[in-house]
Amino acid sequence: MKQLLILSGKGGTGKTTVAGAFIKLSNVNAYADCDIDAPNLHLIMQQKSKPENSDYYGLDKAVIDKDKCIECNLCYENCRFDAIKNDDGYKVNIFDCEGCGVCKAVCPASAITLMPYKAGDMILFRGYQVFSTAELKMGSGNSGMLVTEVKKNMKLASKEEFAIIDGSPGIGCPVIASISGVTMVLIVAEPSLSGISDMKRIIETANKFNTKLAVCVNKYDTNIENNEKIKQFCQNEKIDFVGQIPFDKKAVEAVNNGLTM
């Protein structure tokens, strides 16, 4: 399956707007939203079929049995994530716990167990079109694993040759997980100095994975000089500059009506 992934580095440059327009225009029958931290593609790609929901379990979380705990403090000393709190007995803060299991390994009283923890919901629409998305539970880490699952879900449910994937902002674990295995990355840049700085950082990240790249600019006419800077940069770096989209209030209206551009 050939996969086109849409990224931006900076948030709010128009990844989802561009992804939605491409899905509509290309009539692609497989697509996914990998922005599991703030998914939005479903808002403009309304589905007729009922979704299949499944629970996503990240890594286990440590739980301390109060009755067995001998308050030796070893778990507290050895946890690198400051996830063990000691006020009125030893407790694990599930938001800080990464599930590494060090506390369990050092506990001399076998008072610690690792328990499964639901970290999000995976949602798969399997109508005429396959649409895979997910929502990470607030404050959960390890989002890269969920991104990998979302892509896997789409691939398993569809025999299509081509798919479009909406990515997440930033350059960290969900972005890296989304880049792995895709055919090409399209970067939606914004003609602001922040947008340019962030575009360079996402390009540097994508280059580490030797992925084919192209750049387009959204709202290019809001700052023509900066748009030219982006074009020049792409030329110097030998990256394909594939288009520029003007600012149009109608784009906002379309989104607010749950429609693609």
Binding site: G9, K10, G11, G12, T13, T16, D37, A38, N40, L43, L59, D60, N78, R80, F81, F95, E98, G99, C100, G101, V102, A105, V106, L136, M138, G139, S140, G141, S143, G144, S168, P169, G170, I171, G172, C173, I176, E190, P191, S192, L193, S194, G195, S197, D198, R201, I202, E204, T205, K208, T222, N223, N226, K249, V252, V255, N256, G258
Partner: protein
């Protein structure tokens, strides 16, 4: 409510990216004058582009990565079996370390019966400390290719020194790095944009600040005439609207050139001064 202290830590967050977190926190820092600005969006830090601070100090941030002493290793595989992140593999009598996916928990070193594992430092990013007028500007930056900057954020937040205000520019989303950024703050500003996308993600950070039991208010950015889904949401949920910032080409231009709007234009200076006053009022 904060009692007995006149120093305030204020986080600016939004859920969705690009709604104006950096714009709001940079301008508040400017009008508050003597304050700390901390850029916790370590994946894509942008505040420094506006302040262009004079850099006084750079500090590399490292994480601990295991290294294996081949002479000592007997190939018992205890480390491989222990590692929940699959960062270790036993291949052809060798233990391989996949540095990118190691979470630096230290478990392998702790458990190795032969004491064959020690730790080395791996650079994951940098913190820059600089000044702009009387304010301290702290910027965290994750190296491209690294998975997570949570440890950079932790270190950054320890930096805030004795200033009446500390503004924390948060990363987008509502995941672990955002939680880390707001854990110890006194007040949260939620920045929303008037789109369906913006409201959907706004709802997620709204749940987050409620979970953390933080006092908060909303700033509605890029307001156009007509319907505003973000405003409707605030009214429905009884969220205090601290201020509305209009969508204006002039403002967009200043911002896209990384200029501090309050420095260039009296109108925006007044707007942010009154926002700061409103926030102060929330504490009295």
């Amino acid at each position: 409510m904060v009692t007995g202290e006149d120093k305030m830590k204020i986080a600016v967050l939004s859920g969705k990216g690009g709604t104006g977190k950096t714009f709001v926190s940079v301008n508040l820092t400017f009008v508050a004058e003597n304050s700390n600005y901390i850029d916790c969006d370590v994946e894509e830090p942008n505040g420094h582009l506006y302040f262009k601070p004079e850099i006084l100090k750079r500090e590399k941030i490292y994480e601990k990565i295991p290294q294996i002493d081949k002479e000592r290793c007997k190939g018992c595989r205890k480390c491989v079996e222990f590692c929940k992140f699959n960062a270790l593999a036993h291949i052809k009598d060798n233990i391989l370390v996949f540095e990118e996916i190691c979470h630096s928990c230290g478990g392998c070193m702790l458990l190795c019966p032969e004491k064959a594992i020690s730790e080395k430092d791996k650079e994951i990013g940098e913190i820059q400390e600089g000044v702009f007028n009387n304010s301290n500007i702290y910027t965290g930056s994750l190296n491209p290719g690294e998975e997570t900057g949570v440890s950079i954020i932790k270190r950054l937040l320890m930096k805030a020194n004795n200033k009446p205000y500390t503004f924390i520019d948060c990363p987008p989303g509502s995941s672990c790095s955002v939680m880390e950024s707001i854990k110890d703050v006194d007040y949260c500003i939620l920045v929303a944009e008037p789109t369906l996308f913006g409201v959907h993600n706004f709802n997620m950070v709204y749940d987050l600040v409620k979970l953390f039991d933080k006092p908060f208010g909303a700033v509605l950015n890029k307001c156009l005439d007509g319907e505003n889904p973000a405003e409707d949401f605030c009214n429905k949920k009884n969220i205090k609207i601290l201020c509305k910032i209009p969508f204006e080409h002039q403002l967009g231009k200043l911002n896209s050139n990384a200029e501090i709007a309050s420095e260039k234009n009296e109108k925006y200076k007044n707007l942010f001064s009154s926002l700061l006053k409103t926030i102060k009022g929330e504490f009295e």
